[in-house]
């Protein structure tokens, strides 16, 4: 078996960009959840506030 160091080094960029991409999407989803939880409160909670 021969080690392909060149391809390995190339994939390090994919590793970095891939993880960054996953975190970016998940952060966007956190933001979405925060907005949804704020705007769409269950009825009981809304009454408590008023």
């Amino acid at each position: 078996m021969t080690l392909n160091v060149e391809l390995f080094l190339e994939t390090l960029t994919y590793m970095w960009e891939g993880m960054l991409g996953v975190f970016a999407v998940m952060l966007a989803l956190i933001l979405l959840c925060a907005v949804l939880n704020r705007l769409c409160k269950p009825r009981g909670d809304r009454k408590d506030k008023t």
């Binding site: 996953v22 989803l29 959840c33 939880n37």
Partner: protein, 373 residues
Amino acid sequence: MDSILQTLEMLEWRQVVMWLLGGLLIYLAIKKDMEPALLLPMGFGAILVNLPMSGAITQQYGEVLEEGALNRLFDMGIATELFPLLLFIGIGAMIDFTPLLTNPKLMLFGAAAQFGIFFTLSLAALLGFPIRDAASIAVIGAADGPTSIFVANFLHSSYLGPIVVAAYSYMALVPIVQPPVIRLLTTKKERRIRMEDTGIRVSKLTKILFPILVTLIAGILAPRSAALIGFLMFGNLLRECGVLNALSETAQKVLANLITLLLGLTVSVQMTADAFLAPRTLLILGLGFVAFVADTAGGVIFAKVLNLFTKHKVNPMIGAAGISAFPMSARVIHKMGQQEDRQNFLLMHAAGANVAGQIASVVAGGIILNFFG
């Protein structure tokens, strides 16, 4: 009589090895309850396709090419990516996102636990696999069978059989693979950390809007994941809309079972002795193991780093639940928490991280397709 002898003469020792392997998969499914819905049909299929001149797969008889039933199913269901996508409707209908919606920051653990995918991509590339095969092998780390099949097939990997066997085997082995890694990376004190309930209550409207908006966001940010995430979220919308309960139950039970059965049997087309019994198969199984270990380590280490900067500490074991193996991983973490402290109830938090892992693994699969598709 002559034709029987002729068939027996064609039998190779490698085919007998594949029968034994098929028998092993059936044994693990029945006796050890390891993903039986998939490993049993796969095991049986492995025997079926390795019969000499098996009519179940495409064979050349003189000048005539006779297409086998399993090849036809493969072309219709896997080559077109329909089976994994349809299975996602069933999986989406099974998932309750409430624990995640009450504590959205658990999404981060879902992201961190995808580290195994990208780590294994580099490792497989280093070991000499062509980049598309390396990417397909890496997605074993998604801990998500349909995503592994979808990506490996999309990238035309020649290792679909070993990849599927590895993905489903390690998913079943989560209770064995994860605990030692978690214990190695955490102290007893860390494992005893209790996590408070956020007190957030989730409305029905939120649960309905969530799958729609996730599809929009993930589809825009990672377009190649649109089919995967879309089918998953459509299943979830069936569950949450409240007016299609019969369809939701059908998706959860009948559809998911039927597709799993067909998927298992059909994938075995890739388990012919010629394709499967190669030194690289063992290497792929090893890389799959590395992917699961790296996923677990990535989640735990990320949680520990997060604890350095936050006031409300997170039990680092929750990070390990960020893989997509739902609900096994959440159960494992809850059980480990209970072993350290009987009053520590981590199930809801672990389930939240686990469903986040389901979304993140699909997104990671889409990103891999964006890179190499």
